[in-house]
């Protein structure tokens, strides 16, 4: 915590300077055209974040990281609009210029086969959060295989998939020869599947790019269509409206057939590729005489079936014991009617004569107790239940809090 405090002090000092700088600008009417306060802000945050890594609870660190990332984008939005205003635009023009700038920035990626969401800067990055988090997740799920399926140049934002596939396709189609024919074919197949996954991923990203640009247009139209009513009165309101419109465009896209097909295809191709590399890894492990997934799966499946059988047998045994207890309890009760008054005392002499035999039924009878009388009780209750059901033969609808 002492470390945290010293870093916190530094951070607060830096932040105070930052606040003072922005406050001065507020007094002088805006941000200078060349100033980049959001960059400064982001830098100070990044510096501080790196310093704090490992010094906070992991959950807190993650939340802080997200707050800062979002703060950075929020500041970038403010800076763009402020800059435009500082250059003489009225607020509406400043916002529109900002939206046009974002549209132009996105347009440069349109049609680029290798586009994967990387390289999009500032505020519109949020449109590619699904893609970025997808990449992050996939990398986390396939750490061993990345080198195999992340073909050279594929993780850059600008490589041209089309240019790459043609020559590579020829290599991948070359027939395998000789003793290592089979492993060679499997390698080729793996690379082919990797390419197919990457293509599916790019198609998904391109669709996102298109919808992101449509959302900007939708935002502009919404602002124009408000006719002075309900227009955002603050930066936060503007941001919230942007979120609302982006969600609307995204939802329409995500509920469409195109998304269903693109997303399904991307997931399926990833899984098919992963399964293939899993099988190759299994082959490799087998060659080293090490256990592989297939073998462990077989054992687990058998074990699970054994556990099911075991539970079924246990249940059956319990039922047999309960039945046995009833059968042994009934003749004893019939033979000694007086025992009904004092069953424990009456049982004693027998128990003394045959302690083991007497003890067992007693235990079994106890175990059976909740079952048998309970069933009788339920049977006795039946008419009442029926009556209740008849009375309540209705569907009741209510609204919480109404």
């Amino acid at each position: 915590m002492s470390d945290n405090n010293s870093w916190a002090e530094q951070w607060f000092k830096a932040q105070q300077q930052f606040v003072d700088a922005w406050s001065d600008m507020a007094k002088t009417g805006g941000v200078g055209a060349n100033a980049s306060q959001s960059d400064l802000w982001a830098q100070s945050f990044d510096m501080w974040r790196k310093a704090c890594e490992g010094k906070t609870q992991p959950d807190m660190e993650m939340a802080m990281r997200k707050c800062m990332d979002m703060g950075k984008e929020y500041f970038a939005m403010a800076e763009h609009i402020s800059k435009n205003m500082a250059q003489g635009a009225n607020p509406a023009e400043a916002i529109n210029q900002w939206l046009e700038q974002m549209k132009q920035a996105l347009q440069q990626f349109s049609g680029m086969p290798g586009f994967n969401g990387a390289g999009v800067s500032d505020f519109m990055k949020q449109w590619f959060t699904p893609n970025a988090s997808w990449q992050e997740m996939v990398a986390g799920l396939t750490p061993m295989n990345q080198a195999m399926w992340q073909l050279p140049g594929m993780n850059t934002s600008v490589f041209n998939l089309g240019e790459m596939i043609d020559p590579l396709g020829k290599v991948l189609e070359a027939p395998g020869v000789g003793y290592f024919r089979e492993p060679q074919e499997k390698q080729q197949k793996g690379m082919q599947l990797a390419l197919e996954y990457q293509e599916a991923n790019f198609r998904f990203n391109q669709a996102f790019l298109r919808v992101a640009m449509e959302s900007i247009q939708g935002f502009q139209q919404r602002l124009l269509g408000q006719n002075g009513h309900n227009l955002p009165k603050s930066l936060r309101e503007l941001y919230d409206l942007w979120v609302e419109i982006s969600e609307e465009h995204y939802a329409e896209f995500a509920m469409g057939e195109e998304y269903q097909a693109l997303y399904g295809d991307m997931v399926n191709r990833l899984m098919i590729m992963r399964r293939h590399y899993g099988e190759m890894t299994d082959d490799f492990l087998r060659s080293l005489n090490l256990p592989n997934t297939r073998e462990i799966d077989t054992m687990q499946e058998r074990l699970q079936q054994l556990r099911r059988d075991n539970f079924a047998l246990k249940k059956e045994l319990k039922e047999i014991r309960a039945t046995l207890a009833q059968l042994t309890a009934k003749p004893a009760a019939a033979a000694k009617p007086a025992a009904a008054a004092k069953p424990a005392a009456a049982a004693k002499p027998e128990a003394a004569a045959k302690p083991e035999a007497a003890a067992k039924p007693a235990v079994a009878a106890k175990a059976a107790q909740p079952r048998k009388p309970a069933i009788k009780k339920a049977a006795a209750k039946k008419p009442a239940v029926k009556k209740a059901v008849a009375k309540k033969a209705k569907v009741t609808r209510a609204k919480a809090g109404a």
Partner: protein, 354 residues
């Protein structure tokens, strides 16, 4: 657009305020202790594999319902959502209104659990927990409260074991998994579930997280954190926010075979509605369900749209059916103050009356 009432000094003031809030919030985040999950005292009653059956300590001075209630939570996410903090606890609300509450905690399945099927979960784990409770309390039947996917399990279980269930409460339960407004369902229709399970073994929790967050990515991955800055200068808000955050990202892996069957049978083939559902060797036809049912759904639920739950009375054979709609979302139905004041007492009233 020409009338946007923005002033440049106002923008700067807003940013300064934002930054000040963030600075204070950062300090609170730094000082915050590890977030605890689940607040009500409880006792472990039964354990099997990774499953634990808990009984919550009954509230004192309350007339207790003699029929205990078993909460069956979803396999997705963790059940402490129902007991997230002292003043936002569905479980505490149930205890305070006279219910004797048990809960199944499924734990975190790993590779050794890959071959667990829905039959193992429903006719195995749930059934054994129900038997433990029946024996402990000396009753034939208990009450079941199923939440979300746990509600689906509870519907199947109750249909197959009506001799053991007195009353069934389903909360935000997807019955019709193919309503037109169901984004989750829409996404999985073209997915090759066999390829996923074959490739991954168990379904990683990270994939579920990705899916849930991407239902509303701008709100859940962006706006939420911008809005957080407004509240984190208050230490108490930091804790509450972080509890939710912890829960959201606390997604257990899904046992492969159970996941395969769940998505194929319920989300792709909608068998609860279309028919043909089998759990193990047993046919599940909701028409055979005669148990009293209280069905609760949330009007703004983006995970289980209301229509997905509202179809239930058309499918079941029970003549004692009650429906409760809650004006909130999938999570708000457990954690909001409004839910504590309305939903939980309504559940208890309904159970106590039967």
């Amino acid at each position: 657009m020409s009338n946007i009432p923005f002033r440049s000094d106002q923008v700067v003031e807003e940013l300064v305020q934002f930054n000040q809030n963030l600075s204070k919030g950062v300090k609170n985040l730094l000082d915050a202790e590890e977030i605890s999950a689940g607040v009500t005292p409880r006792e472990e009653i039964y354990a099997e594999d990774k499953l634990k059956l808990y009984r919550y300590q009954p509230s004192t001075g309350v007339v207790q319902n003699k029929i205990p209630t078993l909460i069956v939570y979803a396999l997705v996410n963790r059940p402490y959502m129902a007991d997230i903090q002292e003043n936002r606890s569905t479980i505490k609300g149930l205890l305070d209104t006279g219910q004797d509450v048990y809960l199944i905690d499924w734990g975190y399945p790993d590779r050794a659990d890959k071959y667990l099927t829905l039959d193992d979960y429903i006719n195995g784990y749930i059934d054994r927990c129900v038997d433990v409770m029946r024996e402990r309390h000396g009753v034939d039947k208990i009450n079941i409260l199923g939440i979300c996917q746990g509600g689906v399990f509870s519907l199947c279980y109750t249909t197959l074991h009506q001799d053991k269930v007195k009353n069934l409460v389903t909360m935000v339960t997807p019955v019709d998994c193919k309503t037109p407004d169901n984004m989750l369902s829409h996404w999985v229709q073209q997915m090759d579930i066999d390829a996923i399970v074959d490739a991954m073994g168990n379904l990683p929790g990270e994939m579920l997280n990705w899916t849930f967050l991407n239902l509303k990515p701008f709100q859940l991955m962006g706006q939420k954190y911008v809005s957080m800055v407004d509240i984190i200068s208050d230490e108490k808000n930091v804790k509450n926010f972080m509890r939710m955050e912890k829960w959201i990202f606390d997604s257990p892996d899904q046992a492969g075979e159970a996941f395969r069957q769940f998505i194929k049978d319920f989300y792709q083939q909608n068998k609860l509605v279309e028919g043909g559902l089998k759990i193990g060797e047993h046919d599940v036809d909701l028409k055979n369900l005669k148990t009293p049912v209280l069905n609760i759904f949330a009007e703004q639920d983006h995970l289980v749209p209301p229509a997905a739950s509202q179809i239930l009375p058309k499918l079941i054979g029970s003549k004692d059916y009650t429906e409760l709609s809650f004006p909130g979302g999938h999570i708000g139905i457990y954690v909001s103050g409004k839910a504590q004041a309305t939903v939980t007492p309504a559940i208890s009233d309904w159970l106590n009356a039967r």
